[in-house]
Symmetry: C2
Subunit: 220 residues, 2 copies
């Protein structure tokens, strides 16, 4: 006796759910939301063995959330669509909304206006356009080049201290990185504040920004 037709459908959707059920896979997904990356790079960023990264990527690929392409002797992975990034966004927003444990854990890291609303995003976009604030992208430069917030300037966290002169002291600086779970923007803000800049951070990365329906600047 064969399983009901209906069960087959839910089984397929569950494949995607299963892909989203491992912490390391989610971390990889977030990294891929910043742009195409090789297995080696992903393994380093996620602090896991390359073999393990490969195994996780295999699961993500089988659930069709990511695609790969060979580039010389490297293999580059990327999300298989915009909708995958927004699914990840939706997932962590729902989790943050309902899991008190996650809210507590975030409280230890995030300070200030973490949750952006439609209005605060538009207002920031406006002030960025007019030059009222400097939007600062502190991710590694390749990620900035792949896609970044409108009017954002790139200074990777690792180079920030040596490139402080590029930033104006009289303007408000708003830093961002990969998303609400990324610690780089928080570190950048701490650094900037000790040097006397007026700096704050937002929890949005490009994926969150784009999911909110706002434009991002991309490579092409």
């Amino acid at each position: 006796m064969s399983r009901a037709l209906k069960d087959l459908l839910y089984e397929q959707v569950a494949r995607v759910g299963k892909a989203l059920s491992s912490p390391k896979r989610l971390e990889i997904l977030e990294l891929l939301a910043q742009g195409e990356k090789t297995v080696e790079l992903l393994a380093n960023e996620a602090a896991i063995d390359m073999k393990l990264a490969s195994a996780h990527l295999r699961v993500l690929k089988e659930s069709r959330l990511v695609e790969s392409r060979r580039d010389g002797r490297y293999i580059a992975y990327r999300l298989s669509g915009e909708d995958v990034a927004s699914l990840w966004t939706k997932l962590h927003v729902v989790a943050t909304e309902h899991l008190i444990e996650l809210q507590v854990a975030l409280d230890g890291i995030v300070s200030g206006p973490e949750r952006l609303t439609a209005e605060t995003r538009l207002s920031l976009l406006d002030k960025a356009r007019s030059g009222d604030v400097v939007v600062l992208d502190v991710r590694p430069e390749p990620e900035y080049l792949s896609a970044h917030l409108p009017h954002a300037r790139s200074i990777p966290l690792a180079e920030l201290e040596s490139r402080l002169a590029e930033l104006p002291r009289d303007k408000e600086i708003v830093a961002y990185c990969r998303g609400p779970f990324c610690l780089m923007s928080a570190e950048a803000v701490a650094l900037l504040n000790t040097y006397g800049y007026r700096a704050s951070k937002i929890g949005d990365g490009v994926a969150e920004w784009a999911t909110a329906g706002l434009p991002v600047q991309t490579e092409n």
Copy 2:
């Protein structure tokens, strides 16, 4: 040595992903998207043992996707927020977009314009308001009462054949049920067509409709 702070965050989000990784749990989520239901009812609808339904609900509850409340000797479960319904919607939309296997399986069931766009939804809403088409909700009546599409009329599938007289023969009838994986609307269309009505179906349920940003009529 303790796990990195960051890992804790992804771990929490993965709890939600894990909840979405079982076919039966997804089926239960979709049922709960139709309104509050008891464990017994969910077990019957999902064709599983009550003990198993209870176990799945426990997982969903621990990931805070559902809440429960005692009502006499029954216990009623409900989604813990609108965003949970829209997460489920997003999940199955992404799965349908990328998994060829799912598209094939759906092809066997769905015929016609399955995928609604913003325009087709608005146009349908317009024709429903003007009375140009009859929007027909074929789910069990309690689900209709909990929430339904604007201007929709309720005739549960089980009663449809005996209540055909209530439907006009000269107007187009658009049937819907719980969502794209629900077979009731397809059965309703088949039945209506054999009796000479002009009937078609849409893949949307209330969750998909609401996620698209359109209004639904609710109990209160």
